[in-house]
């Protein structure tokens, strides 16, 4: 699904990622953990194509293609989805309008016809029910006046409708209370499949209580300093990041 080899990324003159190596197979869930400033968000931004970053070395191959060479919208249409840490508000544009425009641009790219209005409505309403959202959300402006939890649920709704192959979740658990965390996690779990992979960037272990990862990686000073199974997250929770950071230092 995704192979990252010796990836180096700078912002301006400042190197942020200093040689990341990562391989994600179809169906796997990888958690990327690490302290503040370790480069977690940079990694999710670079993979999804946000501007402002310079790749100074290495490669990222997605389904056999050079991911870093694609425009952000092409990555999206090829099935890369970023669940934002801070989803933006767009006034005057209804949620359902954005969803339909997004779905159709992806379908068009994949050579499928535009979705029929009735089929689309049925699909959307199904997913809304799954995420225990109010249908009214569909007709409100994108994220406008949404609470933190509603915004994150809205991200998962988009994920559920666009059916990406690689889901990158940037600190999805931040700003969620325990009930919202549960609903979001259930949503993610329901989307797990042997063909779909997840990269979960998170600061805390608690999200991993609900979504069990196959692999856990610890990012520090722009490098993956330790990798392991789900038990690594528990160890980190107990000992703190300084434990692994010291190990490399």
């Amino acid at each position: 699904m995704l192979q990252i080899k010796n990836l180096h990324v700078s912002v301006g003159d400042k190197p942020i990622l200093k040689g990341i190596n990562l391989e994600i197979k179809p169906g796997e869930i990888h958690a990327i953990m690490g302290p503040n400033g370790s480069g977690k968000s940079t990694l999710s931004h670079v993979l999804s194509g946000k501007g402002g970053y310079t790749v100074t070395g290495g490669s990222a191959t997605y389904q056999g293609k050079d991911l870093l060479d694609m425009a952000p919208e092409i990555r999206a249409r090829e099935g890369v989805f970023l669940a934002f840490q801070y989803p933006v508000e767009i006034s005057g544009v209804s949620n359902i309008y954005l969803l339909k425009a997004a779905l159709n641009s992806i379908r068009k790219h994949q050579g499928e016809p535009e979705v029929d209005a009735m089929d689309f409505l049925t699909l959307v309403k199904d997913k809304v029910r799954l995420l225990e959202m109010d249908e009214k959300f569909l007709y409100r402006a994108v994220n406008e006046g949404f609470s933190g939890g509603e915004k994150k649920r809205n991200e998962i709704l988009q994920m559920a409708i666009l059916e990406p192959k690689l889901c990158i979740m940037d600190e999805t658990d931040s700003g969620l209370d325990i009930d919202a965390l549960k609903i979001v996690s259930e949503g993610v779990n329901s989307l797990r499949s042997p063909e779909r992979s997840f990269v979960m960037v998170t600061h805390y272990q608690r999200l991993l209580d609900y979504i069990k990862p196959d692999k856990v990686h610890v990012l520090a000073h722009g490098q993956i300093v330790k990798s392991g199974g789900a038990e690594l997250a528990l160890e980190l929770e107990e000992k703190g990041y300084s434990w692994v950071e010291e190990a490399v230092a």
Binding site: G49, K50, P72, V88, I90, G92, A101, S105
Partner: protein, 482 residues
């Protein structure tokens, strides 16, 4: 990888599609303006004597005035002696012709603009008056409108055929003494549309005028007069385009609306005059006075404008709410890009009791453009229980443009309620990246965000125009994302 401000600018810039020139033989006055020119103009148009007198009176008054300088726009002084005040495609005789007699090149020009003048080809339910430079070249569906009692004709024809109505109403809303450009227009106006809806008649179709400037070095001085008699109802649309030229051209129009008791007038504009090139060279100076008088009780006038063109726009479609319980509305989208400048807004003058007005203004600025909302809400002592609601939103695209708001409020009646809300926002790179990450191109994302921003205004437009306006906004913004 994602869009930077530079790319935003690329997205906004794109070709001006209506920028072609039609090669025609024309009757054009040499440049220059004096009383002899006005005599000649009035003669060419076969006008009654009272019109010549009116024009001369206006011209003499204009000479005492100075070009206004209070608007937030910059331009070199206009040399009024360098402009030609009349240009018309050559034809055998004056007066409107049947379609077969119109120069096929003109028909072709309108067709290219998406305005076929052949009634069979028209969107059902819209009658068109086509004004080409200084003259009206065709008016469609006249017969059907005549059966309903509606008069819809070029104003030059109305001067001859309906002098009583002209005498009674022309200049009654915008007098020739009103302002510099209104005085100039009264002196030299050439053509425009005239509409009279008789008592109790609901106009059976949308009326529209399509203004086209074609000739070089000419000014277009359009004059439109719409009278809705008691209990009548009319929806009128206006569209404007011009070829691309390096010189600035002046368009100084006057539009007067009169709504009698219980009458409703809906006036919609999609203005797409040539805005100049991306370096600010050329473009139309659009200096327009538009005003409605809600003369009768319970009358209502609604202005909706989508302004994407012109190098400079100076325009304040206004309502004088004279009749008790009358209503004025102003819905505006003004988009400026590159070096365009717009100073636009409205005036709502509350005179009658229980009068109400609504102002929704959406300004969008991209490139190095300056976009100004200027509005006056005036409640006179007589206007007990007057109400106004104003909402004024600005959207910035990129970091070199400006948005400005000058709201003036004068209230002399303690029972009045006046509300004003204003916001300024920016299309952020985060919004664009978010949309791209969901699979939309940067162009589609900007267009979606802008259309969302303008939604409250677009829903006021008649269906045929709403689609055109949305497409136009998309086009005018193409190249604005980078």
């Amino acid at each position: 990888m994602s869009v930077s401000t530079q790319e935003i600018n690329k997205l906004i810039n794109q070709d001006y599609k209506p920028g072609f020139v039609t090669e025609l033989e024309t009757d054009t006055f040499p440049p220059g303006l004096d009383e002899a020119v006005i005599h000649r103009l009035s003669k060419v148009k076969n006008e009654p004597e009272f019109m010549l007198e009116y024009r001369l009176k206006a011209f003499r008054h204009w000479q005492t005035l100075k070009s206004p300088d209070w608007a937030f726009v910059n331009f070199e002084p206009i040399d009024y002696q360098a402009i030609s005040y009349y240009s018309a495609p050559k034809r055998k005789e004056d007066g409107p012709q049947s379609l077969d007699e119109i120069d096929p090149q003109i028909l072709e020009a309108y067709k290219k603009l998406g305005i076929p003048l052949d009634e069979q080809e028209r969107l059902a339910g819209v009658a068109v008056d086509a004004v080409f430079d200084s003259v009206s070249v065709a008016t469609t569906f006249k017969g059907k409108l005549h059966d309903a009692g509606v008069i819809f004709c070029p104003i030059s024809e109305a001067l001859r055929e309906h002098p009583e109505l002209i005498k009674q109403y022309l200049g009654s809303v915008v007098p020739h003494t009103d302002n510099y450009f209104a005085a100039l227009n009264a002196a030299v106006f050439t053509d425009g549309s005239f509409v009279y809806i008789p008592k109790g008649v609901r106009c059976p179709m949308e009326l529209s005028t399509y203004f086209r400037i074609n000739a070089a070095n000419t000014g277009q001085f359009e004059r439109t007069l719409i009278i809705a008699d008691e209990g009548s109802h009319v929806s009128y649309l206006e569209g404007c385009t011009a070829p691309m030229r390096d010189e600035n051209q002046l368009h100084a129009a006057v539009v007067e609306l009169v709504a009698m008791k219980d009458a409703v007038i809906k006036y919609s504009t999609v203005q797409n005059w040539y805005p100049g090139d991306k370096n600010g060279l050329g473009g139309i100076y659009n200096f327009v006075t538009k005003r409605a008088d809600c003369r009768g009780e319970n009358s209502k006038v609604s202005w909706t404008q989508v302004e994407t063109g012109s190098a400079i726009t100076w325009k304040y479609p206004s309502c004088i709410l004279t009749g008790d319980n009358s209503t004025g509305e102003f819905y505006s989208v003004a988009l400026t890009n590159n070096y365009q400048q717009a100073d636009t807004g409205t005036k709502m003058i509350h005179i009658g009791k229980n009068t109400s007005s609504t102002i929704i203004s959406k300004g969008i600025s991209a490139g190095k453009a300056q976009n100004t909302y200027r509005g006056l809400v005036k409640v006179l002592k007589s206007a007990a229980n007057a109400r106004n609601y104003t909402q004024c939103d600005s959207l910035l695209i990129g970091d070199k443009c400006g948005a400005h708001t000058f709201p003036y409020v004068e209230v002399k009646q303690p029972s009045a309620q006046v509300e004003h809300e204003a916001t300024t926002s920016k299309i952020s790179e985060d919004q664009l990246f978010f949309c791209q990450q969901r699979g939309l191109s940067a162009e589609d994302a900007v267009s979606m965000i802008v259309n969302g921003f303008c939604k409250e205004v677009f829903r006021e437009l008649p269906m045929e125009f709403a689609v055109e306006a949305q497409a136009l906004l998309g086009l005018s913004l193409e190249g604005s994302v980078g």
